[in-house]
């Protein structure tokens, strides 16, 4: 069950790699939120109910509902065009995503550790590196935020792998999620959109040394 869910999460990354519209990105993020909700529900059975409730609330409410709606609101408010505008072609994106997944599989094969579920490690690291790749290759600032949200999802998967032994770490991860999302999205919503009309990273190059 968990394997299927995690592999579905991996597939959403491939879908994201070739998606053209920002709305698709937001939908994929919402789907990832739901997937994480089910994974957490199945995986963390030994944890106390209060903690579990908190985690589930975070995944289903924050990741799957609040953040996507917030992103849609930002898109509407700032009149951001719907294209994702990647620097590289979709074909190339797909190959790189595949390479990321293959490399993490190879990396995880070098681990001699019986306790860790390897699939968690593979999915988490792939999601993490894919998020970084997304940040590096998309032109709009809002896609950077989405890349960061993808990274957070990867970390959530990783923290689930140790969640039964150390619930504290899962809680800390959730704190990180909420803190960073609020800070980053808050700045975006309030300021960036108003000041930089055409929200493009090329505008963020005034701070330089010469």
């Amino acid at each position: 069950m968990i394997d299927v869910l995690l592999i579905t999460l991996l597939i959403t990354l491939f879908y994201m790699a070739i998606a053209n519209r920002l709305m698709t990105y937001i939908k994929v993020l919402a789907i990832q939120g739901v997937l994480l909700f089910i994974v957490a529900f199945v995986q963390l059975e030994e944890i106390n109910p209060l903690n579990l409730g908190f985690i589930l609330l975070e995944t289903i409410v924050v990741k799957a509902i609040v953040v996507p709606f917030f992103l849609v609101y930002i898109l509407r408010k700032n009149n951001i065009t719907r294209e994702a505008e990647p620097f590289v072609s979709n074909f190339f994106s797909l190959i790189i995503t595949t390479l990321i997944v293959v490399l993490t599989v190879l990396l995880s094969n070098t681990i001699q550790e019986a306790r860790l579920d390897k699939i968690f490690f593979i999915v988490a690291m792939s999601t993490l590196f894919f998020g970084l790749y997304l940040i590096a290759t998309r032109r709009k600032i809002i896609t950077h935020v989405m890349g960061y949200l993808v990274i957070e999802n990867g970390i959530f998967v990783l923290s689930l792998a140790v969640g039964n032994e150390m619930p504290m770490l899962v809680n800390l991860g959730i704190m990180l999620d909420i803190f960073a999302s609020v800070l980053i999205l808050g700045i975006f919503l309030n300021k960036i959109g108003d000041v930089f009309k055409d929200v493009d990273v090329q505008q963020l190059n005034s701070l330089k040394d010469v």
Partner: protein, 475 residues
Amino acid sequence: MILTYLIGALIIAVGISVNRNKWVNYSLAGIFLLLQWMFTIYACFHLNETDLGYFTYDSLGILLLITLSIIAIPAMIHSKIYVENHHESGAVRAIYFLSMVGLITAIGAGYLANHIAVTWIFTEITTLSASALIYHHRNKLALEGTWKYVFIGAISITFVFIGILFLSLSIQQSGTGHMSYASLLENAHLMNPFWLRLAFLFIFTGYTVKLGLVPMFTAGVDAKDKAPAPAGALLSSVLMNLGFVGVFRMYIIMANTPLHHWANLVIGISAFLSLFVATVYMIKVKNIKRMLAYSSIEHMGLVMLGIAAGGIGYYAAILHIILHAFVKSSLFFQYNQLYRVFQSKSIYLVGNYFKYNTTGAMVLLLGFISAAAMPPSGLFVSEFLIFRSMFEAHQLVLLIAVLLLLTMIIWAFGKNILKILFIPPVGFNENDVPRISPWESVTQFVLLALAVYLGLNPPVEFVHLIEESLILLPH
């Protein structure tokens, strides 16, 4: 006591945020300084005691806490001068002082945390309060700086968290779930080396955003450029020390495992690259604040080279970060006077500073001598010890490369500072130069003198505290 401190700081912060009256704000900032010092003195008398479960007044924490409390006083004084000169509105002033209080409290608590997750939480809070300070001017450039700082800060914090997760995987073998530094150290020999390597890489990379090393140094430079200079002084001195604490406490654990040599390699590579980057930018940079920020990167590179070399290098590294904090913050405090005279931060548009503000120019000259580690600067002693440790560790090729880079840095730094001090600027209107009271430079002189004193004639207690903070490292 730390609970009283945190609650007190919180109450003061709330008081500042709800109040728009200038004098109420100032007096609350004063009360905060009083609280900060009471807490510091309390900590000094309770060496190695644990408070509230998650905080220990250990020697490294206390050394850096005292440094923080010393720098906090001029930071508040210069903040007041800054706010008055810019005629800030009540709301802007309140947010400024609120963030200063938040930043200082979070840094202080982060120093003393004895649990890896607690250090992490307070590092996160410093990102939050620092971003409010960077956004102080509320213009496009400030927004760009804030955005970069927040975004790179968030990614780095995430990296540290991944590192903590890996660390928790590596200690599963030992059967303990507790992640305080002491318990990690106790189980160091039981840790799984694979996960420990990954953990160290991620934690180190994450903290470089605060420490100012390759790869995450960029955001910090933009931040110090855009933040008001009194806040920039904190960012480039005590906040960097918080990054150092994060890395160093993890390094102590690594040093007690067979991976010690590998950790030295990682730190050494990052430190050398930082020195190289600092050299390249120091030669090119024309913005005075960014020049000072790159100089901080150079010093942190040296500190980490000392750590990687080991031996006397450990002692020198701790000495160096403390002295560097005094010197660099005094240069940043001085910067605002310079800006008031010339209304520019470009090296092209300033010059002949001795003529317009003699006292300030003296601070700049002495600060340059100190930061370039020329005698009688205290940094000379620590840098000399770092070189000696590298020599003793048989890193001759590296040492020669480092010395060459340092020569270029001193040349570039000196060329710019001497231009500011002596060469008349082109097309500068001398008629409306404001008169700057020499009293505003007193704190800078005190900080510079302190750096000389602690370097050349360190008190016994000071040396003892440094040695005690190294006691957990293998000799």
